[in-house]
Amino acid sequence: MALAGSKNFSVLPGFGPSLGYTLVYLSLIVLIPIAAVILKTLEMDWASFWATVSAPRIVATYKLSFGAALLAATINSFFGLALAWALVRYSFPGKKIVDALIDLPFALPTAVAGIALTAVYAPNGWLGKALEPLGIKVAFTPLGVLVALIFIGLPFVVRTVQPILQDIEIELEEAATSLGASRGQTFWYVVLPMLWPALLTGFALAFARAVGEYGSVIFIAGNIPMVSEITPLMIITKLEQYDVQGATAIAVVMLIFSFILLLAINALQSYSAKRTGRSF
């Protein structure tokens, strides 16, 4: 009957209605609103668009948003790999709880994360108090932005690397060991190359999420112009000044960046799926 792999034939019902509904709903909720932003930008002339998006205060926010997001994603890649490794390869008490809590940043509302991190890292907070004598100020500085972005990006690397690490065949490492490789060499030349695509994907996901993050950052950042303002905050600031065009211009810059990252992540994931034979 249903030939496996035959492209245009299936005995299952409902293809037309389900795909049609999916496309209509997608257009209504996602595509038309995006088009609204782009149309609004087209009303602006190039000179005023450029003047808005290249104003020094705005450029300073790009530097912080992108710089802190890159750094946070890098830190998460390193520690995320360590966490994934610990969860897959070692047994330790409380492992199930650790495994479950990794997803906390997905489930905890960003505003709650924001005020909690601020309370912890403020000069009179638990960790802020400990860091102050060392001359390290976290809350209300760019460092605070970094801390918030590490928090919200933490699960991405762990959750992309963990399943890949679990699926690696032990035989490969056994072969390397029996051929005389040290444990370090096996990790560096056998295991790590298999993890790279997943690590990169996790990095890109954490980075994409961090660049657009708003809720958890604004509380801890202090929002000092030219120092600790992030790009999404500038959209809010422009809106509060009733400068809808200015807000839209900045939003378009962020949208273009989102599209580029989304394409890059897709390419990474299909590359990774090809390498490891599994899909995300």
Partner: protein, 301 residues
């Protein structure tokens, strides 16, 4: 994909818990690290985990209860907080079913059929994951605000969307749009279509196939998708903040109420309300673990 979802999907779908026992690796001399390596990695990983996840979570409850139960309770039963809670529940109650229907429909089309442009469709479904919540709010503001033709038409017909409940719901629907679909697609793809095809060949109708074959197979994944979608719907901040207008007792959701209290230096009250949302997050994670456990049990059978 760009998300929570995808990654957590992978966890739900492909991770028999038996594998989570590290002993398999620790007993094999080829995959065993020297003790000092093991304890260094464990220390680094767990310290990072404690510092960035456990400490902030504990801090929410500590700060909430610091001034005693009376202050805590008063912050929760105060009329504005109750109104915010009601609006948050209403928002989730509307946006969840909408995205549930979409998620199941989209997953059915994508997982059970082959068609051209499937990859593009998947990418488009992922779009909301990579767009900043603030930009999402702005999109709806531009679409329904008084400066657009649609907005002017709405004003003429006395329909308010922006700075009102419909705007909040729409922004929430956008943010939570991919969650259930993204949870179900890999699950339904992995299960293939043989069972459904057999049912159809034996004479089952479309809805019968779905109710008796597909739904029992995906129920745990579906439950987790709904739970996570719910947590995000109740917790959304950036997008809702742009379209809500922050009218106390009217268009304030719980996260926005937390922000207002915090900015008024009512820290204990802010953390009291925040602790409700943190509790919701913890419950979400507990249900997630339970769903994974059920899934693994089924895989083990």
């Amino acid at each position: 994909m760009t998300s929570a979802m995808v990654t957590s999907t992978t966890v739900v779908a492909d991770q028999p818990k038996a594998k989570l026992k590290g002993t398999k690796f620790e007993r094999n001399s080829a995959t065993r690290e020297p003790a000092w390596v093991k304890y260094t990695v464990l220390t680094i990983a767990l310290l990072f985990f404690a510092l960035f996840l456990v400490v902030p979570l504990v801090a929410v409850f500590y700060e909430a209860l610091r001034q005693g139960m009376t202050v805590y309770w008063q912050a929760l039963v105060e009329p504005d907080a109750v109104a915010a809670l009601k609006l948050t529940l209403l928002t989730a109650a509307i946006s969840l079913p909408i995205n549930l229907v979409f998620g199941v429909t989209a997953a059915w089309a994508i997982a059970k059929f082959d068609f051209r442009g499937k990859q593009i469709l998947l990418t488009l479904i992922d779009l909301p994951f990579s767009i900043s919540p603030v930009v999402v709010g702005l999109m709806y503001l531009l679409m329904f605000g008084s400066s657009s033709w649609l907005g002017r038409w709405l004003i003429d017909h006395d329909i308010t969307i922006i700075f009102a409940v419909p705007g909040i719901v729409l922004a929430t629907v956008f943010i939570t749009f991919p969650f259930i679909a993204r949870e179900l697609i890999p699950l339904m793809q992995a299960q293939g279509r043989e069972e459904e095809e057999a049912a159809v060949v034996l004479g089952a109708r479309g809805w019968q196939v779905f109710w008796h074959i597909t739904l029992p197979n995906i129920k745990w994944g579906l439950l987790y998708g709904v739970i996570l979608c719910n947590a995000r719907a109740m917790g959304e901040f950036g997008a809702v903040s742009v379209v809500s207008g922050h009218i106390r007792g009217m268009t304030n959701t719980l996260p926005l109420h937390v922000e207002i209290l915090y900015n008024e230096y009512q820290f204990s009250a802010a953390f009291a309300v925040a602790s409700l949302l943190a509790l919701l997050a913890v419950i979400t994670l507990v249900i997630k673990s339970f769903v994974e456990y059920q899934h693994d049990k089924k895989m083990g059978e």
